[in-house]
């Protein structure tokens, strides 16, 4: 299998702007080493300002590295960008590209021309993509008459019209409604899966579920550093450790310390709801810790158990554990995952 993207000790700093550090230099990426084989969807997951967009800009030849190297399809981003540009494309969420006076189809045609695609081929591809994205009825509408979401769909299509070998998607579902976001995700997944020639997608997102569902591999990035790289499944497994249970009991005085002391319990937390006269308890177990001992102890304390729920570890838990905080940001209400 060939390598689509490879970086070695890739770093990028900015002078001025952002948060200035002592020397007036701000380190947006430090020593990033990634290797992305062809044919996969590779996710970059990280909080605001983590450096995701900076990395994508370097890989898409829009920004030079300060040090280290990056190769796209074997070509150096530094000086072989003329070899890279024909085989890549990029779509960013919230983009406002194109010309308001041209129609959707005309704008897409125009961008295809910048890749030297003959008009006939371009128009056929545009037609197909508009159909898939449910935008056919807007083909002849001027884009200054479109809603933000429709514009984002058009922008999204723009990325696929040129049939790139490697596609960068920077928060592509930003501003799309639940259905459109789902269609978009499915489209990207099918595009990679059904490709005759291997296609590679590098995706950044603020939506955990999107990363979990779409990506074959994920790099978790924070403050310009890669903290972990693995499949979503492995990340969840690795970070999980022992099991974790939510147990609800009827209200009664109890001794928290004695619960914490139960063998096999790694940590214990609780909250009392006066209104419902219940106590919610969270037990995190060490690997191999057993639920039976807890139930035994609760019964012997005279607490009546109302509900036991095993908590599944999510990608978000893995993320919190690695980064130390929740993945913030993202458009509230724009997506189904929150």
């Amino acid at each position: 299998m060939s390598i689509a993207i490879k970086t070695t000790e890739l770093s990028r700093s900015f002078t001025g702007g952002g948060e200035k550090e002592a020397g007036g230099l701000f380190q947006a990426l430090s020593d990033v080493n990634i290797e992305i084989p062809e044919g996969m969807i590779y996710g970059l997951l990280g909080p605001n300002g983590a450096g995701k967009t900076t990395l994508i800009k370097i890989l898409s030849t829009l920004l030079l590295p300060t040090s280290g190297e990056a190769f796209v399809n074997g070509y150096n981003v530094d000086n072989q960008y003329d070899k890279i540009r024909p085989i890549i494309n990029m779509v960013s969420g919230g983009e406002n590209c194109g010309y308001g006076i041209l129609t959707v189809a005309e704008n897409l045609w125009m961008f295809a021309q910048f890749y030297g695609i003959p008009t006939k081929t371009a128009m056929e591809r545009i037609k197909t993509l508009l159909e898939i994205m449910n935008l056919t009825d807007k083909a002849d509408v001027k884009i200054n008459k479109l809603s933000t979401g429709m514009r984002q769909k058009m922008n999204f299509i723009r990325g696929f019209v040129t049939e790139p070998k490697i596609l960068f998607l920077d928060e592509p579902t930003l501003g799309l409604d639940v259905n459109a976001a789902r269609e978009t995700r499915k489209f990207v997944m099918d595009w990679v899966k059904n490709a005759v020639e291997p296609k590679t997608v590098i995706l950044t997102t603020h939506y955990m579920k999107e990363a979990d569902e779409m990506c074959h591999k994920l790099a978790i990035i924070d403050s310009g550093k890669i903290l972990a790289i693995d499949t979503p499944a492995n990340l969840k497994k690795q970070e999980a450790g022992g099991a974790s249970y939510n147990i609800t009991v009827g209200y009664k005085e109890f001794d928290a310390n004695s619960l914490r002391a139960i063998p096999g319990v790694a940590s214990f937390a609780h909250s009392v709801s006066d209104e419902d006269a219940i106590i919610e308890m969270i037990f995190n177990l060490e690997a191999g810790g057993a639920l039976a001992k807890i139930i035994e102890k609760l019964s012997s304390e005279g607490l009546s158990i109302l509900n036991i729920h095993k908590k599944e570890f999510s990608l978000e838990d893995a993320f919190i554990k690695l980064v130390g905080r929740r993945l913030n940001g993202g458009e509230a209400g724009a997506n189904e995952h929150r």
């Binding site: 900015f14 702007g17 967009t53 900076t54 800009k57 898409s60 030849t61 829009l62 920004l63 030079l64 003329d82 540009r85 024909p86 890549i88 494309n89 990029m90 960013s92 983009e95 406002n96 590209c97 194109g98 010309y99 006076i101 041209l102 005309e106 045609w109 125009m110 961008f111 021309q113 910048f114 890749y115 030297g116 695609i117 003959p118 001027k142």
Partner: protein
């Protein structure tokens, strides 16, 4: 450049020009903006000249000058300030991203504008000529056409250079538009022969190719034209050609610089995020 590459570049040029040629004429507002606006000052000046009993050719000068203002307006709005708008919309980023040389995009922009402007100048002039009953005395249709085309080429080459220049060194678009609008209308002799400025000032004004183009066209189209000539037509045409070449080279140089600095600084070409 191979034939294949050439064809690809031509596709890019045509696509960008298309926006201007087809797209802009879709919006009827340009009629008001680019036909009516130049006509207003034309009429004002024409009436002043008329009340002074100036020779009718002077009215003709004003009308031609006024019609040519459309070119300058176009260059300022559509070329010099263009990269500011393109950066805001994110188009500039996409132009850098695509395999097409950005120069092709810039040329497309200029050709599209130049083409639209060409007709507007002629229409505005014809309307003015009709209103004020101007008689032309055309020395050579061929040379008049050549001069007109060369003027457009030179001015838009200057515009191509300004596009990168202002994104590199300008503060914002409005700044540029205000600084360059009025003084140029005065200096380039839109409303009077540039000769009246005297040679030193006229020479400076000649850096704006419209000045020379207009002077040459007045010489070629009006009976009194040669009498008010700044320089002989042949010299003016030669200078126009030289200016076009210099501005094109300058445009390419500044665009390369813009692209390089954009990649290095991550700021000029990309939206601040």
């Amino acid at each position: 450049m191979s034939t294949d590459e050439l064809i690809k570049n031509l596709r890019g040029i045509w696509a960008r020009a298309y926006v201007r040629i087809i797209g802009v004429n879709r919006e009827p507002s340009w009629l008001i903006f680019e036909l009516f606006f130049p006509l207003l000052p034309i009429c004002a000046f024409a009436f002043v000249y008329k009340s002074m009993n100036a020779p009718s050719d002077y009215l003709g000068f004003v009308i031609l000058g006024g019609a040519m203002t459309a070119i300058w307006m176009n260059v300022l709005w559509g070329m010099a300030a263009q990269f500011f708008w393109e950066r805001e919309s994110g188009n500039l980023t996409l132009y850098m991203l695509c395999p097409m040389p950005t120069m092709a995009v810039l040329i497309g922009m200029a050709i599209g504008s130049g083409f639209s402007t060409f007709f507007r100048v002629i229409i505005t002039f014809m309307i003015g000529k009709f209103i004020f009953g101007i008689t032309l005395h055309i020395a050579s249709y061929w040379w008049l056409f050549v001069t007109f085309m060369l003027t457009i080429a030179a001015v838009f080459s200057l515009g191509m250079m300004m596009a990168s220049f202002f994104l590199l060194y300008g503060r914002d678009a409005w700044n540029i538009l205000t600084v360059f609008m009025e003084p140029v209308f005065f200096l380039s002799g839109f409303y009077f022969p540039v000769k009246t400025l005297g040679y030193p000032l006229g020479a400076i004004a000649s850096l704006i190719p419209i000045t020379l183009g207009l002077d040459a066209m007045r010489q070629l189209a009006f009976k009194l034209g040669p009498a008010t000539a700044f320089l002989p037509v042949g010299v003016e045409i030669t200078i126009l050609i030289i200016l076009t070449i210099i501005y094109l080279i300058g445009a390419k140089y500044l665009l390369n610089k813009l692209e390089y600095l954009g990649r290095r600084e991550g700021r000029l070409t990309l939206r601040w995020q």
